[in-house]
Amino acid sequence: MVTSDIYKNEYDVIIVGGGATGAGTARDCALRGLKTLLVERNDYSTGATGRNHGLMHSGARYAVTDSESASECISENMTLRRIARHCVEETDGLFITLPEDDLDYQKTFVEACQRAGIRADIIDPAEARSIEPSVNPDLIGAVRIPDAAIDPFRLTVANLLDARLHGADTLNYHEVEGLVMNQNRVEGVKLFNKLSGEHIEVRGRVVVNAAGIWGQRIAQMAGANISMFPARGALLIFGHRVNKMVINRCRKPANADILVPDDTVCVIGTTSDRIPIETVDDMRVTREEVDVLLNEGIKLAPSLATTRVIRAYAGVRPLVASDDDPSGRSISRGIVCLDHAKRDGVEGFITITGGKMMTYRLMAEIATNAVCAKLGNTAPCVTANQPLPGSEEGAPNQSDMTKRYSFGERAAIGRHGSLAARIEKDNDIDNALVCECEGVTVGEIKYAVHQLHVHNLVNLRRRTRVGMGTCQGKLCSCRAASLLGELHHDVRRAQKDLADFLDERWKGMRPVAWGDTLREAQLTAAIYEGLCGLDMAVSNQGKEDKQ
């Protein structure tokens, strides 16, 4: 549907926030027959959804300290393996005990896992070394658990796609500036279209606040007060994948104790710091965070000491103080669903927050149940059983792929599952590789631009992984920018976009700019500034715009 028609519509439900939770809620609402709109102020998966490990928790990490979260995790873990298998890589995980850790904790840990229903097998350190050669060889204990890796970008897009297939509308780059209020009732959202500069009001019978840490501000617009405690976590991406399995420390959750293999790379994290709510948009990673992550990461897998760090990033998890303890001492890591009619006397407004990327589907189900209760809809939730687009019965998966597929096709099937069939590959131009690190073809870029709401290179990266490999977009970003310029018929915008993309890549490289990452940065500068004069092209544009 074209944007101007969306503006005129009235919806049963408007969901604020295009992370995994918002996307999942939009899907659930649409599947239950509600007329649904999702709005996101930036790109989809910009917030905490795109800024975590990409770990599909077994729940083991929470087994000892938070049995409720642990049970939720293992249940959702098993569900996602069915409904989102094209987003999941079944790696399994280890919880290792190092000489400086207390081996007695292992017993507590395994018992807690068993109580939560999580398979936890104690294995011999020698066996651990053999199934996971990168693990610290000094380990004195190991437990094998069903952790896995999940691609949160792909997961969110699959939910959005399915929501749209079932009639939902979605708008990215639309910021909520206020709520349409009628006395104590929320009746819609006031939107600012960041691409066109328009201000619009869209009506909806219920508004769901799924804006993560930014949800505190949305709630305030309705006069409701939620005490959020932003917990910031920084992570590092290494240039290749050293581990096959997820590696965790078998001790009370602490800094930088999880190493997750993700596609071609691996990720260590996280730090954990409470930060003031005013600073949640500042995602710069500090030198101290980098130092902690490296020092702790090397203890899990010693070869990280000599592996190139390609990027650092940080995300903010929305922790919520329970209502009876505004001091924040008793903070729940669990799912929080607030019906503001009961809590604050505001009708037509629900907040879904807390939780984890891992439990997004359950959060969506809880929020949708609350919406349906308000609207008198009795349709049951089917999201736990109905596969996401890309993971239907009979869809190809990576393990049974044969030589019939080219590198680009294999990569695309890995990213889009059965949807890869929609990628044009009728001619040799569509099969040409734009990004060699990640195997992204011209056809896949066209598909992303036409089907997956791609306005710029950063969007394109989130949909296809273009520029996410070891070269961090050295040549492919120029090829992709040139293609986008042609597809969007706006070359000058494409150049500005290219500069913004390089800047976004640089923001993540800068905290770890030494070794080969600094070399890549110098090489990128030599190509884009020295050879191509991109800096001059962009500053010339700025001068002309002022005139």
Binding site: R284, R287, L294, S406, F407, G408, D428, I429, N431, A432, L433, V434, E436, T441, V442, L475, C478, R479, A481, S482, L483, G485, E486, V491, R492, A494, Q495, A499, L502, D503, R505, W506, K507, R510, A513, W514, G515, L518, R519, A521, Q522, L523, A525, A526, I527, E529, G530, L531, C532, G533, L534, D535, M536, A537, V538, N540
Partner: protein, 415 residues
């Protein structure tokens, strides 16, 4: 092995220095890792393009106002004009057909259609001497179908903004269509290798001639001739309008050719070029370097009267940054670099980056030092030198050429 001078690094500066010495009868050995930043060079040399973000029109006049630590100031502003003439002549002698004048910059046209200052540009490339008097009115921009390493839409747009009328045409030939079947083969270097025969060039010329219409100049991407000028010369005669080339994204065919021609010239002069090897260690006796050890020769160190460090910047691993410091990896020479890692870089990707000015410390004669003590027979040249900024000042290739010649003169006058 006994040589007069051993040069560590076989890129633009190392080869230039080697050629200048070999021409005067020296026995020279170059240890070359095989990586050269000429692969990122579109076919132009820059003397000085920018100071503090302001384009420099007359480089020779401006050099005197550079800061003290700049390599041009070290070798002496008054020597720049004659060294620049000598460098240009050396390139011409190697068969590299460059045009340009150190007194006044011209403009080269980048793959994105930006006009950027340059000192010397290959005569085959599109060059603009005066933005008010363009070399052509109407251009036929010929785009190779499926070749994405020329951002054609940006190039066409940039050329229009410079005042050209541009007709964009897409074409292919049998050779190109065949190459396209392998999705990763459509790179400038692969095209150049595949398009070198007379038949292949004739098929391109046929396409160009039938499409060019009433344009008064034809532009093609620079994908002709990895090792000599023949491909371009043949094609130029087949195309019935003036033909110019535009640089592509790397690997640059023109850059590879310049590298190959310099190497060929050096070897023709009797130079010894050790390909795929690199210096790993140097042995000092007093204030002199006596030998260097290379990765491949192992326990057969290279002995010489003089040594030259031409190992390049971080890109070429002439400088290395680790978690804690910036260092020169062969000898541990003194470097000019900030100690605090946070000072190496700036927050915005297009801001001037401090690291790009880092390099080894030298005295006015380009001699290096270790722990404050000058090494009498070791000079540094090119990008490994501190105090200049290839990206922001547009001085990298000029520094490479001119410091190479200055070091060669120094070595020859020592005798």
């Amino acid at each position: 092995m006994r040589t007069d001078t051993v040069i560590m690094g076989g890129g633009l500066s190392g080869l230039t220095c080697g050629i200048a010495l070999a021409k005067r009868g020296q026995r020279v050995t170059i240890v070359a890792s095989g990586q050269s930043t000429l692969l990122f060079n579109g076919g132009s040399m820059e003397l000085l393009g920018n100071i503090d973000g302001t384009p420099v029109t007359y480089p020779l006049e401006t050099i005197a106002s550079l800061p003290e630590g700049h390599p041009y100031r070290k070798i002496g502003a008054d020597r720049i004009a004659s060294l620049a003439d000598e460098a240009k002549q050396l390139l011409l002698d190697a068969g590299i057909n460059v045009e340009g004048d150190a007194a006044a910059n011209h403009w080269r046209v980048t793959p994105m259609g930006v006009a950027k200052h340059a000192w010397l540009t290959l005569s085959e490339n599109l060059r603009i001497d005066d933005l008010k008097q363009l070399p052509a009115r109407r251009l036929a921009l010929m785009c190779i179908r499926g070749f994405f390493d020329e951002p054609n839409s940006m190039l066409a747009n940039g050329l229009k903004e410079l005042g050209f009328e541009v007709d964009k045409h897409e074409f292919t030939t049998d050779e190109i269509t065949k190459l396209r079947r392998s999705p990763s083969e459509m790179r400038a270097a692969s095209l150049a290798k595949r398009l070198s025969s007379n038949n292949a060039l004739q098929r391109i010329a046929d396409q160009v001639n039938s499409l060019a219409g009433d344009a008064d100049m034809v532009l093609l991407p620079s994908v002709f001739g990895m090792s000599d000028n023949d491909s371009y010369d043949i094609l130029k005669n087949m195309v019935n309008k003036p033909l110019r080339l535009v640089a592509t994204l790397p690997p640059s065919v023109a850059g590879s050719r310049m590298q190959a021609m310099l190497r060929h010239y050096f070897m023709m002069l009797g130079g010894n070029y050790l390909m795929g090897d690199s210096a790993v260690k140097g042995t000092l006796e007093g204030d002199r370097l006596t030998t260097i050890t290379t990765a491949k020769l192992g326990d057969m160190p290279l002995r010489a009267d003089n040594f030259v460090l031409a190992t390049g910047s971080f890109i070429s691993r002439g400088l290395v940054a680790d978690y804690e410091r910036v260092y020169e990896p062969v000898m541990g020479l003194d470097v000019d670099a900030d100690k605090d890692r946070e000072q190496w870089t700036r927050f915005g990707v297009l801001e001037p980056q401090a690291y790009s000015r880092y390099g080894v410390t030298t005295d006015a004669t380009l001699r290096c030092a270790k722990q404050g003590k000058t090494i009498a027979n070791l000079r540094a040249i090119g990008s490994v030198l501190s105090g200049h900024d290839t990206v922001k000042m547009g001085d990298g290739t000029g520094v490479s050429l001119l410091t190479a010649l200055a070091a060669a003169h120094g070595i020859l006058s020592d005798k």
